[in-house]
Symmetry: C2
Subunit: 239 residues, 2 copies
DNA sequence: GTTTTGGATATTGAATTCATAATTCACTTT
DNA sequence: AAAGTGAATTATGAATTCAATATCCAAAAC
């Protein structure tokens, strides 16, 4: 039997928890779900690529049972496509999917802006401003990856400030599908500049707790983002 | 071994398909997923109730493997709660969950109204009007179940007219959680009357293809619905 | 009488096994 | 040589088996 458990998943994670707390036990299924999701979203697994169960089992050092459970969930979330008797492939985002997702995310994004303005604390605004400055620095240095990363963090904070877990998970679900194609995005300079400007406006609206304004800005900012993803998508077709 | 396959799932469904078409083959997992979802949403399985795998296996006449796959997906959708080593129970909707879901559904509902106005055909409007009349008849006869059913159909048609699958599934996901508590709702007469009035307005807005108006009506109609569910929820606590 | 502890029982998590459908590839036929 | 056919191989769908955890119940300690 060729089951090298070298890269196998570790369960307990002991060592850093505050002495006596409900010991965090996770099932393999849950752990796999998280890892696979991240691999897809980070582009380690390419859209359209077939994912044979055997390979993944070998990679994670687990049996097929928990792996398949995870795949079913990912399929339900639209991250992989499951064809009966023919296995799984990483779902690829079509232009149609993108155009469908856009208005839905717009509605959620707008809502998150309004609710964030109603609930955000001064400390959170300060934190966002701090991140914003870091982001601008990355922009000026033309560090795209770092820029994306900080940008991502800012949006997460706004979402968190909306204090609505349902909204957060609905948004994350859609966002995951988009980011799948995102890692290969290469923003044009003009679009990038505009994105940074929009972020400036976001900060102002947040400080003023102007929900309607923030909602509007987020919505148009999102349109910008979608254009970028769309271009990435089209350029990939031309491969 | 006590495996009575009397209620077992049937696979092929032959007989009614148009001669030679891609034969519809479904996996047990998928079939189970659909059935369990329906059982939860229809209230055949009560919120908070434990669902031992063994029982469900016996009921459907399948092994644990596909059943557990389905449960994992349902857990991901928030319809069941899975505790490691302790099994599954039907998720129960707290007041907090409800209050979180409300603004999110409101945003999606508004969007569906706007998009439906942009895309709906005259035929679809006519169909909705037909259903509306049937619904009013049920209202006058005080047939709550039938009323709910037709009401449901009308909202589905509006959603379908929005021509956005992403929106549809996002909405359905949230709606499922709500309907879970819905089957025990017992509308007050005044609220019921108001709901019917709102439906009248919906029809007008649809005929005029007035997206903004429809969005607004749907949103306030939703608030009405939420009040009803909330009351049902609170009355259950008093059991 | 109440609480605690130990073990029997049952249930779940995950691996393995078995069955079936899809894919591959050599071979036949033209 | 190209296309089609069919057996061998491989991958998936589902059942079964094994192991670990939780639950239940009785006996012991206080």
């Amino acid at each position: 039997m060729t089951n090298d458990a070298t890269s196998s998943l570790t369960r307990p994670q002991t060592g850093n928890a505050p002495a006596s707390e409900p010991i965090p036990r996770r099932t393999l299924h849950d752990e796999l779900l998280q890892r696979l999701r991240q691999m897809i979203v980070n582009g380690e697994l390419n859209p359209g690529q077939k994912v044979p169960e055997k390979d993944l089992c070998a990679r994670f050092g687990v049996s097929r049972t928990p792996l398949r459970e995870a795949l079913k969930v990912l399929a339900n979330d639209g991250l992989v496509t499951l064809t009966p008797n023919r296995g799984a492939m990483v779902a690829d985002l079509t232009l149609g999917d993108l155009e469908e997702a856009f208005p839905v995310m717009g509605a959620l994004e707008a809502l998150s802006g309004e609710m964030a303005c109603a609930n955000i604390t001064d400390e959170e605004v300060a934190e966002i401003k701090r991140l914003h400055k870091a982001m601008v620095a990355h922009y000026e240095a033309r560090e795209l990856q770092s820029y994306f990363h900080v940008n991502q963090e800012i949006h997460q904070l706004i979402l968190a400030a909306a204090r609505n877990q349902t909204l957060t998970s609905a948004y994350r679900g859609l966002e995951g599908r988009i980011r799948e194609a995102r890692y290969l995005a290469n923003m044009s300079t003009s679009r990038w500049t505009r994105a940074v400007e929009e972020h400036e406006q976001m900060i102002s609206a947040l400080e003023a707790r102007d929900g309607a304004a923030l909602a509007a800005i987020l919505k148009s900012h999102l349109a910008n983002k979608f254009e970028t993803v769309k271009e990435a998508l089209l350029s990939r077709v031309a491969d």
